[in-house]
Symmetry: C2
Subunit: 203 residues, 2 copies
C-alpha cells in the first residue's frame, strides 16, 4: 500500500544520482539550486520537499558517492598480496576517474576544495573523507607488515601518505584531461616506490 497523499512524480533515487553527477562536475558552489531543479525535472518546491535544502542534497550525494568508492577502489585493497592490493586499487581509481559514464575525476577531491566561509562544513567533510581513504591505505599496509610481506624499514603511515598523494594527484590530472592510458602508465611509476620494500620478489 503506497503512502497517503499525492505520489511523487519523480524517482527520488534517480534524482539523487543526477544531483550527484552535477555536484561531481561543477562542485558545491559551482552548482546552483536552479541546476539541480533543472536536472531533476520538477520545480524547486518539490526538490525541497524531497531532500531539504542544498546542503542536505549535497550530503546525500556525498554519501551515495562514498558507497561507490567503497565498492570500487577500497574493495580492491582486499587482495591478498600487498602489491596486488595497491596496484588493483590504483587501477580501479583510474577507471573511476575516467569512466565515460560519469563526470571525470573525483567528487570528494574536487567538489569543495575552496569555499566561502559559510560552506566550510562541506570542505571539512570532504577532507574527512580523504583522511578516511588514507587510513584505509594505512590499515592495509599495516596488515602487510604484520603478514611479513614488507621489509622491516617499511612504514605504513608514510606509504599511505605517499599513495594517497598519488591518487589525489591522479584525480586532478583526470580533471585536466589525462586519459586512462596516461594514468595507468603513471601507476607503474608510482608502484616503483613500493617495490624496494617488498620482502619476497612478489611482483
Amino acid at each position: 500500500m503506497p503512502p497517503a497523499g499525492r505520489p511523487r512524480t519523480f524517482d527520488r533515487d534517480a534524482a539523487l544520482t543526477r544531483a550527484m553527477h552535477v555536484f561531481w562536475e561543477k562542485g558545491f558552489e559551482g552548482t546552483t539550486m536552479a541546476d539541480l531543479v533543472k536536472t531533476i525535472g520538477v520545480k524547486a518546491p518539490s526538490v525541497y520537499a524531497a531532500f531539504g535544502n542544498k546542503d542536505a542534497i549535497f550530503k546525500e550525494a556525498v554519501a551515495l558517492y562514498n558507497g561507490l568508492v567503497a565498492e570500487g577502489p577500497l574493495k580492491e585493497l582486499k587482495a591478498s598480496t600487498i602489491y596486488e592490493a595497491v596496484k588493483n586499487s590504483l587501477h580501479k581509481n583510474v577507471e573511476f576517474f575516467t569512466n565515460p559514464a560519469t563526470p571525470s575525476s573525483c567528487l570528494v577531491m574536487s567538489a569543495a576544495i575552496n569555499c566561502a566561509p559559510e560552506n566550510k562544513g562541506h570542505v571539512d567533510d570532504l577532507r574527512q573523507n580523504r583522511a578516511y581513504y588514507k587510513d584505509a591505505f594505512r590499515q592495509r599496509f599495516e596488515l602487510a607488515i604484520k603478514d611479513g610481506q614488507l621489509l622491516d624499514g617499511a612504514d605504513a603511515k608514510s606509504l599511505a601518505e605517499y599513495f594517497t598523494t598519488f591518487v589525489q594527484g591522479m584525480a586532478i590530472r583526470a580533471k585536466d584531461g589525462s586519459t586512462k592510458s596516461d594514468l595507468m602508465t603513471s601507476c607503474g611509476f608510482a608502484l616503483s616506490g613500493l617495490v624496494p620494500l617488498l620482502r619476497d620478489a612478489e611482483k
Copy 2:
C-alpha cells in the same frame, strides 16, 4: 615627479599581494569583493579604480603567483643532473606548499578547480598553467635523454605526467594538513620511480 591628481593612499603592489593571498586561501569563487576590499583597506571604488574588476584582480594575482613559481620550483629544474633537478624541484614545491608565511598549498591548484559556468575562463586559465608546468618537466626530461642521463626506455612525456601527478597530489595533501616532513618523505618514494631509469648510478 608624481602623476597629476590625488595620489593613491595605498600601495598597489602590496594590495595585489594581499589579494593573491586571499585568492590562494579561499579560491576565486570563495573570495568576495568585500573580502578583497577589506584586505586592501580602502573602499570598493578605489579597488575598482586601481585594478578593474574581480576577474582582472584574479588574473593579476595569478600572474604574480606564476612569477613566484618560476623563481622557485621551475628554476630548480635547471640543475645539471636529472635526479638532482627533479629532487630539488619537488623539494622546492614542498617548501612552497608549506611555507608558513603564505597560505598552504598552491593557488593554481586550488583556486578554481570547479566553478560556475560564468567563471569557466579562470578554470581554463589555471588548467593551462598546470599544463605549462607539466611541459617544463617534459622539456627537462627530454634534455636528460639527449644528454644520455636516462636509459633508452625512458619517455619524457610519461615521466612528466607522473611527476606532475605527484606534485599536484602534494598540493592537495598540503591543503589537507600534511606537514613539510610528510611531503618530504613522500618525495623519496616518488623519486623511486625515476631511479630505475638512471643510466649511471647518479644518485
